[in-house]
Amino acid sequence: MGFVAFFVFSLLYLTPGDPAAVIAGDQATVADIERIRERLGLDRPFLVQFGTWLWAVLHGDMGISIFTNLPVSEMIGQRIEPTVSLATVTIILAVSLAVPLGTLAAWRVGSWIDRLVMVIAVAGFSVPVFVVGYILIFAFALELEWLPVQGFTSPSEGFWPFLSHMIMPASALGLVYMALIARITRASVLEVLSQDYIRTARAKGLAEDKVLLGHALKNAAVPIVTIIGIGVALLIGGVVVTESVFAIPGLGRLTVDAILRRDYPIIQGVILLFSFVYVVLNLLIDISYTLLDPRIRY
């Protein structure tokens, strides 16, 4: 995480153009620019600037947006709800579909359900998020008119309005993620099913569902949970695009707008936040291994 912070800071530092000159405007004299530079601390050495910045970030101060003059943390705070809802719905949707599908595919290798899962897996990797998004909009919003085309409604305004705005973006975003999880689940369950203890479980007359859930899936859990964590990187990349396609006012939109306006403090803040979430999530997953597999100790 320290490296990420350093990298993100360097990003702003290396940005072409002198922020002091930008703030001072066209009419400013050299002395004006110099004064502003001193006030912002831009005349100090790189590492001192980095230290000051890191200290501020650790206190929740991520700087001020160049464009709106609002604190970055405040702007992120305003936009965080749609993104968190979208990510949560997507993860729930993808995991609850992918894990059973992958398990069934492994249970009946070579059957139609196995082939279906593999086709979904290959297609999911090949069709980009925004393509799925537009196909869904065409089909369910424009042709069938079942769901609203775009936008976001807060869950506090009722569950159905919220969900109806979430189904399409979450499906579009979740497809790649689902493909990834289903594939790993299938592979991992398949490997466990060839173990001796599965044969023993079947031989002692255990019902097939108990064999699958209690023995196979439980022992296959570690790689599945790992990929759920790693796959979040795909989700984060996808969120930026999905929010653009479905006009959801979340962090992804904020990032895109910031890029178009070259609003570096915001880009910095968002990347830092996303990376932080990603790292913490994967740390939690590493810790959860001990629950899933008592043999693993740290």
Partner: protein, 291 residues
């Protein structure tokens, strides 16, 4: 599949072998042919009935697909068919360049850090750091730093892919260095560069080629994403991502502007992925069984 010796099947000596090989790996054939068609389209774009993809024709704005404008025209009257065909150049160019560059650089980093233990600790911490930033986000950040151009798009995506390649290579190298043939080479006094190039490198190639095709597919998608959100290929060069970005505001009236690049993009990525799956099954049977 297990009966195919990877070394033999990859350089088939007889005609019969080629045919058997293809019959055993249909995905390679399908993927490679689709990709070849796309490459042909990209190269031959000027001779496929296209006009200048940047030519404005304000009087022919937003024409639906017809005999004259096969894929219709956009809000500036530009021919979508021509733009999509020229867009294939950007996608394939980016995919190929990123695959080659990140493989070569990742290979070099992975080889050295897998074999030279002192460097390993430092290099891998840097790679861990880079890997903790989701790749698309890293590419966005790097693009925000630089000017929009195709070279910068390629470099940004390459940087975000390198950590994964070097991890893979390092993993392979770590298992290889314990092998008897490497120990024998060390015992006979072979120098380090020679060990790396003659003994280690050839054994990392199979997983690396497979990895390169997946990187190619993901680079094509990332380029489209970058261009779609306005941080990728500059608007002066038509690419599938920025054609779709331009169609975004109009998708309810002129959905075809988005539809055609979307179809081409999906087919291309599918082709590369199929090729990758096929190569994986053929070159790396152990990995194939695991996935």
């Amino acid at each position: 599949m297990a009966t195919v010796d990877p070394a033999m099947s990859f350089v088939p000596r007889k005609r019969g072998r080629v045919l058997t090989y293809f019959r055993r790996h249909p995905t390679i054939v399908v993927g490679a042919s689709l990709l070849a068609i796309m490459a042909a389209i990209a190269i031959a774009a000027p001779w496929l009935g296209t006009t200048d993809p940047q030519a404005l024709a304000p009087r022919n704005r937003l024409k639906e697909p017809s005999a004259l404008y096969w894929f219709g025209t956009d809000m500036l009257g530009r021919d979508v068919y021509s733009r999509v065909l020229y867009g294939a150049r950007v996608s394939l160019m980016v995919g190929l360049s990123v695959a080659v560059l990140s493989t070569v650089l990742g290979l070099a980093i992975g080889l050295v850090s897998g074999y030279v233990r002192i460097l390993d600790a430092i290099v891998m911490r840097i790679m861990d750091g880079l890997m903790s930033i989701p790749p698309v986000l890293l590419a966005i950040a790097l693009m925000a730093l630089t000017r929009a151009s195709m070279e910068n798009v390629i470099l940004s995506i390459t940087v975000s892919e390198i950590p994964r390649v070097s991890r893979l290579v390092r993993g392979v190298v770590l298992t290889l260095r314990e092998q008897p043939f490497v120990e024998a080479a060390v015992a006979t006094g072979t120098r380090l560069p020679a060990i790396l190039l003659r003994h280690i490198l050839p054994n990392t190639l199979a997983p690396l080629i497979v990895q390169a095709t997946y990187i190619c597919a993901s680079a094509i998608i990332t380029e489209a994403i970058l261009s779609f959100i306005g941080a990728g290929t500059p608007p002066t060069i038509p690419s599938w991502g920025n054609i779709m970005a331009e169609g975004r505001a109009l998708f309810q009236v002129a959905g075809y502007i988005i539809l055609f690049p979307a179809i081409f993009l999906s087919i291309t990525v599918l082709a590369v992925n199929l090729l990758g799956d096929g190569l994986r099954d053929a070159l790396d049977p152990r990995l194939a069984r695991r996935l």
